[in-house]
Amino acid sequence: MGPLIKLILLNVITYLILKFVVPNIPGSAPLPASLMFLYLLLVTAGFLILATVSAESKEEFWGPIQRFLTGESIGGLQALRYLVLILFPLLVGWQTYNSTAVSDAPPGENRTIHPAPPGEYAGLSNPVPKTPDTIQQGKGFYAAFCSPCHGGNFDGKGSAARGFNPPPANFADPTTIAMLQESYLFWRIKKGGVGLPIEGMPWKSAMPRWELELPDEWIWKIIMGEYDGAHQSPRTWE
């Protein structure tokens, strides 16, 4: 087997491993194309160093390339040579053109979903006693004020939810209220979307500022109704 074939084979095998084997290793992820290219370049560079350490190995490696590119009377390969010499610059040009094409994608957004609440809300505890009665009242308030967006099933799929980005929170999802304390919900309901800090992108949130419409006691009851209805428990520090 000629060294050139070896180099090509080595690159193909490396590529296949990087593309199909590495992502399947537990804890791994698909490699970005730029990283894969870097690995293939290293393989090629290493191979070239090995292939050129002695005059013999150098001749073995370069000889066929040299003959293909400059040799006389190589028969049918002559046409292939011209094809390569024409295609290579065209490929370079095409790739360059592609890399300068302007991106059509709007700016990416990195919104923090649960930013830190203002200090005065940390550690507040629900002053309303938790009884079947108060929970039921909370569910009633929830149905009236919250369910149009957050959904009768606490899943964020209320009839008014469709146009909003970010979408209303899904309380049944274990990464929402189950990760938060009651005091956090109290802050978010009271101050609404416009109360978020800048990393929460308050200008995008439709959440009303309920302190203007509901007494605190109702908000605390809504929080109890929400946890109960969504089958979640508030996060505690125990």
């Binding site: 970005p32 194309a33 730029s34 894969m36 290219f37 370049l41 090629t44 560079a45 070239l48 160093i49 050129t52 002695s54 005059a55 150098k58 370069w62 390339i65 040299q66 590119l69 400059t70 010499l85 610059p89 065209l90 370079v92 040009g93 095409w94 790739q95 360059t96 053109y97 592609n98 890399s99 300068t100 094409a101 302007v102 059509d104 994608a105 709007p106 700016p107 149009p148 009839s159 008014a160 939810a161 469709r162 146009g163 909003f164 980005n165 101050k191 979307g193 416009v194 109360g195 978020l196 800090p197 800048i198 992108m201 308050p202 200008w203 995008k204 439709a206 959440m207 009303p208 419409e213």
Partner: protein, 290 residues
């Protein structure tokens, strides 16, 4: 020995040239292209931006049914009833807003299209933008507790008035009609659908009040629609004021004129690659004769 060494050196040089050649070829291919984002299941039809191409002929600034609109890419945005502020409504007629944009380098025209079962004198539609660099809340630029917000610029059209109105707001209840009116609007109703075209100069010379549209990048845009149907018994309008269908903030951009620099760079790359081939073959030929 020295001869051998010089050969190695020359080989390394050739190898380096090859590697550079590779580098010229590859980075483009290796770069991650932003993939056409696969729409999430629940929002199969949602877009995130409106891209307004440059038209060669006349801008259909007052013609919502012009044929040239079909050349503009279509973006669809889901709508919700306005719930952020009382008086809210929990159901709105307009469920989706289809938006197209065009510009001619001087003026921009934006076409809104939506389903509304009845044509009523009080049917209305609006487009909203942020003004300047400050972020503005999507509900009329409502004040935000921890962020200093800016105003919004609202382009408003109502069927019975048949014109565009250029306004500003910084919170509900602060809507103000501008002294200088730059916006034109015209609606056409057919087959249960409204088509409303808004137009304005890209640059109005009033950056404090009007959003200035350049071809440089994306700006924020939002939409609203009112179903002006009257309740047959009470005579009350179904939707008015803050009772309306609204969208969230999305993106808009006026596309830059075609940019040919990509072709120049490609041509330079082709010349470099040809030069590389020429040098390589010369070097190989010399090697042979030596």
């Amino acid at each position: 020995m020295i001869r051998g060494l010089s050969r190695i050196v020359s080989n390394v040089v050739v190898a380096a040239c090859l590697a550079i050649g590779f580098l010229i070829v590859q980075p483009a291919g290796a770069e991650e292209k932003p993939k056409a984002s696969a729409p999430a299941e629940e929002e199969t039809q949602a877009s995130s931006s409106v891209s307004a191409p440059l038209v060669k002929g006349t801008l259909p600034a007052d013609d919502p049914t012009a044929a040239v609109w079909s050349s503009a890419p279509m973006a669809t945005f889901p709508m919700s009833p306005q719930v952020h502020w009382p008086t809210r409504n929990l159901e709105a007629t307009v469920k989706d807003m289809i938006v197209r944009g065009l510009h001619d380098g001087t003026n921009v025209a934006i076409l809104l299209e939506y389903a509304d079962p009845t044509e009523d004198p009080d049917d209305a539609a609006a487009i909203q933008f942020m003004v300047g660099d400050k972020k503005a809340h999507f509900a009329h630029g409502q004040p935000m507790a921890q962020v200093e917000g800016g105003p919004v610029n609202i382009w408003y059209w109502k069927n019975k008035d048949g014109k565009g109105v250029d306004m500003n707001a910084k919170g509900f209840g602060t809507l103000k009609i501008q002294d200088h009116q730059d916006v034109k609007a015209k609606g056409a109703y057919a087959n249960g659908r409204w088509k409303v075209v808004f137009s304005r100069p890209l640059d109005t010379g009033h950056p404090e009040e009007d959003t200035q549209i350049t071809t440089a990048g994306f700006i924020n845009i939002g939409f609203a629609a009112w179903d002006g149907k009257k309740d047959p018994s009470s005579g009350e309008l179904k939707e008015k004021g803050s009772q309306k269908a609204v969208s969230s903030w999305w993106y808009f951009r006026a596309e830059a004129p075609p940019d040919y620099t990509g072709y120049y760079y490609a041509a330079i790359a082709v010349v470099l690659a040809l030069g590389f081939q020429f040098v390589l073959i010369r070097k190989l030929k010399k090697g042979q004769s030596a």
